[in-house]
């Protein structure tokens, strides 16, 4: 498959990136090259092969439902780029 600049524009929105025109051009070229390389996988016969999403097959890992102390609010908010006494602050959420 080959990648178009238009696809890259769309993907950059999905990824919440904002690329300048020159970045978009370079990104299109570079990703097109990489994606073409990845098309190599198409030649592998994977009929009846189970996908392997985890490196180790573990199941049923649980924690008990027992409360532990939460972070102090100040510690929780301390890394926030914008906040008040109680909350994180962001530009207004439109529409709701």
């Amino acid at each position: 498959m080959s990648l178009t600049r238009q696809q890259i524009v769309k993907v950059s929105l999905l990824a919440r990136l904002r690329l300048r025109d020159d970045e978009l051009d370079r990104m299109t070229d570079q990703l097109d090259q990489v994606v073409s390389y990845m098309d190599l996988l198409a030649e592998v016969d994977t009929e009846d092969v189970e996908p392997m999403a985890h490196a180790v097959e573990q199941t049923n890992v649980f924690a008990e439902d027992r409360e532990l102390p939460s972070l102090d609010r100040e510690a929780a908010l301390s890394n926030s780029p914008k906040r008040d006494e109680q909350c994180y602050r962001v530009p207004a959420v439109l529409g709701d």
Partner: protein, 497 residues
């Protein structure tokens, strides 16, 4: 709705917060109402490096619910990341379930005791376990000012229950929600408090319109922001009418140009739905299996254990009240719909008093009235089932008439006194059989003319004695005085013959 030219098709998506002590993937408390951002940790804030670990209890509650909803439980289930950007979603993805949910293909039976619709099974498409998001707060007055983000709710376990589009009227939708809430309450898996957001409902609705070319489906509308079951019912009724109007205007069918799914919000104040903004690319959630979480395997033995532990569910209880206790369907429905504790109270009352019908009447009229007046639940009702049973027995044996008994009941409910205490403080005394017989004999002796009238066939003459009996003993039960006097006169008559 009664318009025969179309059929309403409704499917509901219900999100229920599961009643765990801690969140789905960390051990922060799930308590409602804490000050903002005081119940968070690196995991639920999504701090770099933090990792989720599944809450055992949350999974157990989800499984219990799925089994109670008659769902098929696959042997293998996993969690996926649903990716979108929102400030109350700190990881940039929600941990949810996509292609291998923990349960699917179940059903819930709904019924209307008054027969508003025929009993039916509403199919459950799937029920899956996922994490809740936090809250964005926006001060409308401040205009374009910032939104504020509180992450206390982030990570609370949610069960998303998706029905099939099987409901055909707003009433059915409401009945489904009522029955679902009842089931969840019986299972003890959620407090289902809509005000606190423990139960949230979104609806998908469209119409099947009969046309000369056959049935045509109208575009599907997802309705959000409904904050009560009544709001759901009204929103569905509004939408049906609105969609039919639109159809008559435009003739746009589902899937035709302009016939894609849209989203509307219910405006409670205006009692109407309004269109909501759509995000064009928001449907590409890029789900993929969460590599940080292990899948879960459920064995048949585990399922058997869950089934054995379910307890008696509402549908089975309704049947049992009818067959074992002789209560009619409507009454059984009212009692069962009040919740398991109410049923338990009823069963104890019926058992001790030995009179299920009377117990049912008292619970529905008197107990429910007090509970409603005082906004109490049955657990906090001050009169124990044993005490109330004692009162019912006294009534049953004719030692107290119903109106006096009601006074006693009200006093008991008010003060929490036992029946004897309440009667004493009201100056009411039960009148035992011997005492009443003596009273009646005295009255008959003092009123030979009444006796003569009765013997002559005028039973009504007894009426004169009842007033006198009440004056002599205010606790005397008028019906019993009447009965007893008639019997005594007949005994006299037969003795004379």
């Amino acid at each position: 709705m009664s318009d025969p030219s179309y059929e309403i098709v409704i499917g509901l998506e219900v999100h229920v917060q599961l009643q765990t002590a801690t969140k789905l993937f960390c051990r922060c408390s799930t308590r409602f109402g804490a000050p903002p951002n005081t119940q968070t940790c690196p995991v639920c804030i999504g701090l770099p490096g933090s990792l989720p670990v599944m809450n055992r209890q949350a999974f157990a509650l989800a499984l219990k619910t799925a089994v109670a909803l008659n769902c098929q439980i696959p042997g293998f289930t996993k969690w996926d990341r649903k990716q979108y950007y929102y400030p109350d979603l700190p990881k940039g993805y929600q941990i949810s379930q996509f292609d291998l949910p923990m349960s699917q293909h179940g059903y819930l039976e709904i019924n209307d005791a008054k027969g508003a619709f025929a009993p039916k099974r509403v199919g459950i498409l799937r029920a899956h376990l996922e994490e809740d998001a936090g809250k964005s707060m926006h001060d409308e007055l401040a205009g374009k000012a910032d939104s504020r983000i509180d992450l206390n709710r982030t990570g609370t376990p949610l069960l998303e229950i998706v029905s099939q589009p099987d409901m055909r009227s707003p009433q059915e939708a409401r009945a489904y929600l009522t029955e679902l809430k009842l089931l969840l309450t019986y299972l003890g898996v959620s407090d289902c408090n809509m005000q606190e957001g423990s139960l949230r409902v979104d609806a998908n609705i469209n119409l099947h319109v009969a046309t000369s070319q056959g049935t045509v489906a109208t575009p599907i509308v997802e309705v959000k922001n409904m904050n009560s079951f009544r709001a759901v019912e009204r929103a569905m009724a509004f939408e049906a009418t609105r969609q039919f109007d639109v159809w008559k205007d435009t003739r746009i069918a589902l899937g035709a140009p302009g016939g894609h799914k849209t989203t509307r919000g219910w405006d409670e104040q205006a009692q109407m739905t309004r269109p909501q903004r759509q995000k064009e690319e928001s449907s590409d959630y890029r789900y993929f299996p969460d590599p940080d979480l292990a899948p879960v395997i459920v064995t048949d033995q585990q399922l058997d254990a869950v089934r054995a532990d379910l307890g008696e569910l509402p549908a089975a209880l309704r049947t049992r009240l009818q067959t074992e206790w002789g209560i009619d369907a409507y009454d059984a429905d009212v009692i069962v719909n009040q919740g398991r504790a109410f049923v338990d109270y009823f069963l104890a009352l019926a058992n001790i008093s030995g009179d299920a019908k009377r117990a049912s009447n008292w619970m529905q009229q008197d107990v429910l009235r007090v509970l409603n007046e005082r906004a109490l639940t049955i657990d906090l009702f001050p009169v124990s089932s044993t005490s109330l049973a004692q009162l019912l027995k006294t009534v049953q044996q004719g030692e107290l008439d119903t109106s006096r008994a009601r006074d006693v009941f009200n006093a008991m409910a008010e003060s929490g006194d036992s029946m004897p205490q309440a009667m004493q403080s009201l100056g009411i005394q039960a009148v035992h059989g011997d005492e009443l017989a003596d009273l009646c004999r005295e009255l008959l002796e003092a009123n030979p003319s009444v006796v003569a009238d009765v013997q002559a066939g005028k039973d009504k003459a007894i009426g004169a004695l009842i007033g006198q009996a009440k004056r002599r003993n205010p606790n005397a039960n008028p019906n019993q005085v009447r009965q007893l006097c008639l019997e005594l006169i007949r005994e006299q008559g037969s003795a004379q013959e």
